[in-house]
């Protein structure tokens, strides 16, 4: 169960990094309008995913056995 969370959260940083790249690309003069629109769609999806990740984090406590 926590593996799924792990995979998602592991990529939070990557998602943010990707988002920054997308913004930089759109801001760059060389990117076509068409491509910029597609990038925007991707960026908006990333923002939604990140928001979901932040909202879904939940506290969980595990206590290890001393004998293990």
């Amino acid at each position: 169960m926590w593996w799924s969370v792990w995979i998602m959260t592991e990529t939070y940083e990557e998602k943010i990094e990707q988002l920054r790249l997308i913004i930089a690309k759109i801001e760059d003069g060389g990117t076509s309008l068409d491509e910029s629109m597609k990038l925007y769609e991707q960026g908006a999806a990333l923002v939604r995913q990140c928001e979901t990740l932040l909202a879904s984090a939940e506290e969980k406590i595990t206590t290890l056995s001393r004998d293990a």
Partner: protein
């Protein structure tokens, strides 16, 4: 709370001594012993009993040898500390000490934790805290504290092993998913850490419980670190504030090596900020408190949200900027396509034509002017040769039937001629015709 005392314990001579000596006025009837009543004692009474018990010659004006620990220089000038004695590698006995300002002012040196000292004083009860303490009158220095020497020796050994090397320190993960906490499973420390993590960024906390003080604590702590290390992204090793003895296990090589060998970064938060243990030196990062350690290991969700919101705004703005640039491009292209430019060009050409035409006209006018002058000159010259001018000199022109008579041959007798003078004409009749040749 009411404390009941089993009266069997009160059959004691010193108690009797105390009773009659210290509180004779309050005893209503000296002959009525409290032993026979069933009335419970008050806390003050029992405190008084203990005080009288301690008022023993063996505990008054005595000399005591020990190691200074938890030395505190109170702002009012009093000194509070403990004297401790080791036995079998850990603390065997401790006694709290106080040195009042009047006595402390006579100290010939500045006591420090770890110093081996010999003090003189008396043991007294401190009723408000229910504790006993050694009221120190004088203090002289003994040898340096063995525990401190031991720590110094460990520190050198562990440094030689590279446990404290700066290049060994690892950065903490930005987004840990599981945080290991090595500490006592009860108490404020784990509670503080949980609270902070839950508040900032709730992730899974894996508690690896351990004793955090005592003779065998170091082995337990080391095992607790090793146990949790493989299951988490970062480990917090924490303990609340305590005495030098309390924190001592965190100086032990077992703990230091366990931290150094931990496969994931370790954040230490042991004791208060002023207490630096060898475990702190070996940790990848040291936090002043357990709460601060928790803040170090997880990001704050609020900050992340702010960053995300900013990125979302920038994303939208970047697209709008891109679109607006595209619109500008289109506007520019449209401008370039418009006929105005051509019209302007035609206008320019037209102007050129007009200019040329002007020049042409001007040049004609000049030319005509010149010709006119020339003509006037010629007219003047012509006038000089005019027949009129000849007539004026006294000549006249004969005309017959409108034709100028150039030769006498054209005349016959009785021809009617017109004679033109410069100022008029007359009609004459030919009388005779003579030829010069015939003369």
């Amino acid at each position: 709370m009411i404390i009941l005392i089993d009266m069997r314990f009160v059959h004691n001579i010193s108690l009797m001594d105390w009773f009659y000596r210290t509180e004779p006025s309050e005893a209503q009837e000296p002959n009525e012993l409290p032993v026979v009543t069933d009335t419970p004692l008050t806390v003050r009474e029992i405190s008084g009993i203990i005080e009288s018990l301690l008022d023993d010659r063996q505990l008054q004006d005595i000399r005591v040898q020990g190691e200074v620990t938890n030395y505190k220089y109170h702002s009012r000038g009093h000194r509070y500390f403990s004297l401790s004695e080791k036995g079998g590698g850990s603390t065997a006995a401790v006694i709290k000490c106080v040195m009042w300002r009047s006595d402390a002012d006579r100290l010939s040196f500045a006591p420090e934790d770890g110093m081996e000292v010999v003090v003189t004083g008396s043991v007294r009860v401190y009723p408000p805290q229910g504790s006993y303490q050694l009221q120190v009158k004088t203090m002289t220095r003994g040898g340096a504290g063995e525990k401190y020497l031991l720590i110094e020796r460990w520190k050198k050994e562990l440094a030689a092993e590279g446990c404290f090397a700066a290049e060994r320190k690892r950065p903490l993960p930005s987004f840990p998913l599981r945080v290991g906490v090595v500490t006592s499973e009860t108490g404020a420390v784990i509670h503080d850490i949980r609270t902070v993590i839950a508040h900032r960024y709730p992730v899974e906390i894996v508690i690896s419980p351990t004793a955090v003080q005592g003779e065998k604590a170091h082995g337990e702590i080391a095992r607790a670190i090793a146990r949790v290390a493989g299951q988490v992204d970062v480990v917090i090793v924490a303990r609340g504030g305590g005495s030098f003895e309390d924190l001592f296990p965190f100086n032990h090589p077992d703990v230091v090596r366990a931290i150094a060998a931990c496969p994931v970064p370790v954040v230490s938060a042991i004791g208060h900020e002023v207490d630096v243990t060898l475990a702190d030196l070996a940790a990848d990062m040291r936090a002043p408190t357990p709460s601060a350690a928790a803040e170090l290991v997880v990001p704050d969700r609020k900050d992340l949200r702010l960053v995300l919101r900013d990125l979302r705004c920038r994303l939208g703005a970047s697209l709008l900027t891109r679109i607006s640039r595209a619109q500008n491009e289109i506007a520019d292209l449209r401008d370039r396509l418009r006929p105005q430019r051509f019209c302007r060009k035609i206008g320019e050409k037209r102007q050129a034509v007009a200019d040329l035409s002007d020049r042409l006209e001007r040049s004609f006018v000049t030319r005509i002017e010149r010709d006119r002058l020339l003509l006037a000159e010629m007219k003047t010259a012509l006038d000089g040769r005019s027949p009129r001018a000849v007539l004026a000199r006294g000549y006249c022109v004969a005309e017959k039937d409108g034709i100028v008579v150039k030769s006498v041959d054209a005349l016959r007798e009785d021809d009617r001629l017109n004679l033109r003078f410069y100022d008029g004409r007359s009609r004459v009749v030919v009388e005779r015709v003579d030829h010069d040749g015939n003369l």
